[in-house]
């Protein structure tokens, strides 16, 4: 039967299955193949807090969503067009979000009575009429992979494990993706187990063939390369980008990188990546807890390294005392918070933006620090790099806020030229041999104090957490000196505003409504903006990278719009800051559900407000 090839612009696929079904990996592979084709893309992994909840259970469903397009895109997509459901539980959990009329590909072999019961289905949805509004492709993947690997003499369990590759193959056919990079990857990954490579390759091929030859599949699709900015691209996850950003800063500052950290979801991957960069002399230190993570980094900063520590919200909570120490000792330090659902342990594997207050205010005493947020996976590179720049220039700890979505999600990223990255000049003491060294003497422009690392002859000095005398840095309890130092530390952070790019509004430059975002919410907002502009709405979008200090010209920009809408995955933290700073009343959209906003939700809110 002849097949039709359709050109389309934009597809969202969701892979869903049991925790053991390899959905994250399948998604990753599809993403890679899609990236290479040159589509723009955005991904959203979503996995349970348990390592492997009971097979077939609703709690054990793991999913990976991928949005790709021939246009520039900003979010992982609201509703999937295609749902790959490896078992009934996956279908049950994810069906409600599938686009009406969307495609469902299921592994029928898993629709056993037991699994149906585990998924709380009374009747088999493949047999009753409940899926009639969708295009369903029921495929007995288990049988087909068994067939494909028949003569290999490997265990049934091993064969069964390849069924995700079969599903991938079907989708490769359906969306015209090349299989070679996946096969190459399999070869590398399982270099020592050729039979695994073989089995998986066969399953992949079988899936592809099944799509191209089986009658039930009538159409496949072509999504052209997107017209992205020219450059060499790779696909990158946020945590990967953060790690690279730190290494890049260390190279451009010509300082060794020290990373002290304690594992925590969803931040651990930064540690994992950095631990692999020993040939850059990157020293990673898996500390006994978050306190040792940051205090070891403070020690390394004192010793002259570019020091960083990374964690998620509960870990930041434990670091707050030491952050105060870094403020008082005025040492450069990058602190990364890959935010997750809170409070407390909360939703450890889900995303949230509720640690902004903690970043800004979560310390005893007046302890201001600059705070930057990453807007997308690739932007984590720039955010980490800029944070290090500011830390080294102003001699201050800097907080980088990313989140679970940005940290685990991925997107195409233009690989920068090393030479184009700004050189970073740490604020080392520049005085000549005979100049007296005063550890708290400040650069008159930046107010940064001079940095001298132990090992430098003749400049021995002591720092610590007690209040410092201006200039000498000696311990000092004088009331007026304290006031002066509190004010100086505050002023120093205010001056970071000099390093912040002026605001850039996308869309209308003035008008009815400005969408104001920070962090990962930018994606959904930009996607919404595009559509709203097409609908002829008078809407602009302004995104904040730096939350402290705020850009100098922000006040003026807020004045240009009738209304301001701040969508946040919290109860209105940026909104409160804007209220306090500009005495303006923004509208809020606060949905705290452990996942990014949908484009539609922002559009609906804008429509409601501009109605």
């Amino acid at each position: 039967m002849p097949k039709t090839l359709k050109h389309i612009d934009d597809v969202t696929i969701r892979f869903a299955g049991d925790s053991g079904d390899g959905m994250q990996l399948t998604g990753d592979r599809f993403t890679s193949a899609t990236a290479i084709i040159g589509n723009d893309l955005s991904t959203l992994p979503d996995y349970p807090a348990e390592i492997r909840a009971p097979a077939g259970s609703l709690a054990g469903v793991s999913a990976f969503q991928l949005h790709f397009s021939s246009q520039e895109i900003f979010s992982p997509g609201d509703n999937p067009d295609v749902l790959v459901a490896m078992n009934p539980a996956a279908l049950k959990v994810h069906l409600k979000e599938l686009t009406r009329g969307g495609i469902i590909i299921v592994n029928t072999a898993s629709f056993t009575a037991k699994n149906l019961k585990l998924a709380q289905y009374e009747t088999n949805p493949l047999d009753d009429k409940s899926l009639r509004d969708y295009v369903v492709y029921p495929v007995d993947m288990s049988r087909l992979v068994a067939h494909a690997c028949e003569d290999m003499g490997i265990t049934t369990k091993t064969v069964e494990r390849t069924k995700n590759m079969f599903a991938l193959g079907v989708l490769y056919w359906m969306y015209n993706r090349p299989m070679d990079t996946t096969i190459k990857w399999l070869k590398q990954k399982f270099a020592k187990k050729p039979e695994i490579v073989e089995a998986n390759t066969r399953a992949l091929q079988a899936g592809f063939n099944y799509g191209s030859t089986n009658r039930i599949f009538t159409t496949n699709y072509k999504v052209d390369a997107a017209k992205l900015n020219p450059g060499t691209y790779r696909n990158i996850s946020g945590n990967q980008a953060t790690a690279l950003g730190l290494v890049a800063a260390s190279v451009r500052a010509n300082l060794p990188l020290f990373y002290g950290s304690y594992p925590i979801t969803p931040a651990s991957d930064i540690l994992h990546h950095l631990a692999g960069f020993r040939n850059f002399k990157v020293k990673t230190f898996q500390a006994e807890d978050e306190i040792a993570g940051i205090t070891s980094a403070i020690g390394a900063a004192f010793a002259g390294s570019l020091a960083a520590t990374g964690t998620s919200g509960p870990g930041v909570a434990l670091k707050t005392e030491a952050m105060g120490l870094a403020v008082m000792t005025e040492l450069p330090l990058v602190i990364v918070n890959v935010q997750r659902g809170g409070p407390a342990t909360g939703l450890p594997t889900k995303t949230e933006q509720a640690d902004l207050f903690q970043a800004l205010y979560g310390r005893n005493g007046e302890a201001p620090i600059p705070v930057i947020s990453a807007r997308s996976p690739g932007d984590c590179f720039a955010a980490a790099f800029e944070a290090a720049q500011v830390a080294l220039k102003y001699m201050t700890p800097v907080m980088v806020l990313t989140d679970g979505y940005v940290g685990n999600g991925s997107e195409p990223w233009i690989i920068p030229n090393v030479a184009d990255l700004p050189e970073i000049k740490p604020n080392f003491f520049q005085g000549d041999e005979d100049e007296a060294f005063l550890p708290y003497k400040r650069n008159p422009d930046t107010l940064a104090r001079d940095w001298v690392a132990p090992g430098t002859p003749g400049r021995e000095h002591r720092i610590g957490g007690l209040e410092k005398e201006d200039g000498s840095g000696n311990v000092n309890y004088d009331p007026e000196n304290h006031h002066k130092m509190v004010t100086l530390r505050d002023e120093k952070i205010k001056r970071v505003v000099e390093d912040i790019r002026p605001c850039r509004i996308i869309g209308e430059q003035e008008g009815d409504l400005l969408i104001l975002t920070w962090g990962s919410t930018r994606g959904a907002a930009r996607a919404a903006l595009q559509k709203l502009l097409k609908e002829g709405k008078s809407v602009g979008h302004m995104h904040l990278r730096w939350l402290n200090p705020l850009p100098q010209d922000l006040g003026g920009i807020l004045d240009k719009f009738e209304k301001i809408l701040i969508p946040e995955i919290n109860l209105g933290q940026l909104a409160q800051i804007i209220r306090a700073r500009y005495l303006k009343e923004p509208h809020q959209l606060n949905l705290v559900r452990g996942r990014p906003f949908l484009t539609r939700e922002i559009m609906d809110k804008v429509n409601e407000l501009t109605g």
């Binding site: 290479i36 230190f285 205090t295 020690g299 020091a307 030491a322 002859p457 003749g458 021995e460 002591r462």
Partner: protein, 343 residues
């Protein structure tokens, strides 16, 4: 002093290590003696002055770095071990000294303390054990004996104290020693030994807090009592002590006890336990002398063993990695994995 050249050439003296800050401990505090001994020993170790780093937590004892004309870091309560780990990992050339109190290292800082020991980072711990919280004005500490009446325990403390050498040995310490604030010569010697040890050295120093816990160590420091209550350990030597060198430690099964030797004849030197710094079991037995009234307190090196050192293994990995993958090339690193070009 001329800048930007190491101070190696110059013969350092005690005064080179005295900072310009006024020392603010209570007059008569045991901390003064420790400061003096450290300032005397540092010039003799052959380390350029600029390579010394003294790191502390919070407490009376932890003010120490301010009084030393070296690089210094007065940290936050309990975290000196972690800060020091960062310093040493970042620059293994430095000679890193941790000054801490019994509250700082055994209470809030207990976890960093035991982890530092097991990691065996090549730094030196000087624990000023006065068995009390000095700076916060006299609460009991994790080394105060059971039943201690203090501000926070008006009816007596309820918890069995930590035994610092035993805890250290349990945490796989590679060097455990003890000295006393009022034994300056011995202290100097043991500070030197601490420095020489490759790996984390742990030196407990009994230190009198005359304001909040005066007399805690009188048994070991009073002229007429100390000889009968202090056992000075020497590697390979039988454990003899007493004013007249007529007492020794005999091991009956696993139970150590004091026996009289010499004149009375029942016991001879040959019956005594011989100290072996490298024997973990002997060190464990000795650690259990702490808090016991019927046994002398051992001072000197209780235990020393050779063990791989964290920061060296780390540097090795860096060199290994360069050998394996080449010196880090940022452009290459950023370009790893599948890439594609958009024109």
């Amino acid at each position: 002093m001329a800048k930007n050249e190491t101070t190696m050439e110059k013969q350092l003296t005690r005064m080179d290590f005295a900072s310009d800050q006024v020392v603010k401990w209570c007059p008569g505090c045991g901390d003064y003696s420790i400061l003096a001994q450290v300032q005397k020993v540092f010039p003799t170790l052959g380390i350029p002055k600029e390579n010394y780093v003294v790191i502390s937590g919070i407490g009376c004892s932890s003010r120490f770095p301010y009084y030393m004309d070296t690089y210094g870091f007065h940290g936050i309560h309990g975290r000196a071990a972690a800060i020091a780990t960062g310093v040493k990992l970042a620059n293994p050339e430095l000679s890193v000294w941790i000054v801490t109190g019994d509250g700082d290292s055994m209470s809030i800082g207990g976890n960093h303390f035991i982890h530092l020991l097991r990691r065996n980072v090549d730094v030196n711990i000087l624990l000023f054990n006065n068995r009390i919280y000095g700076l916060t004005k006299g609460q009991y500490s994790p080394t105060s004996p059971l039943g201690k009446v203090t501000k926070s325990t008006p009816m007596g403390s309820l918890d069995h104290p930590f035994n610092p050498p035993a805890l250290a040995l349990g945490a796989d310490a590679s060097f455990v020693a003890r000295t006393i604030d009022k034994e300056p010569k011995h202290m100097q010697e043991i500070i030197k030994r601490s420095h020489k040890h490759h790996g984390t050295s742990f030196l407990e120093i009994y230190q009198n807090c005359l304001i909040f816990n005066d007399g805690e160590f009188d048994r070991y420091t009073d002229k007429d009592k100390k000889a009968d209550n202090v056992l000075t350990l020497e590697h390979g030597k039988p454990m003899i002590f007493g004013k007249n060198k007529d007492k020794g430690i005999h091991l009956a099964g696993n139970n150590p006890r004091v026996v009289s030797i010499g004149a009375e004849g029942q016991w001879s030197v040959d019956d005594l336990l011989v100290h072996d710094e490298h024997d973990w079991i002997i060190a464990s037995i000795l650690s259990h002398f702490t808090y016991r009234e019927d046994l002398p307190t051992p001072i000197g090196v209780l235990y020393a063993k050779a063990q791989s050192v964290y920061e060296e293994l780390l540097d090795d990995q860096c060199h290994q990695a360069v050998k394996l993958y080449g010196k880090g090339d940022l452009q290459k690193l950023m370009s790893e994995g599948d890439t594609w070009v958009v024109k």
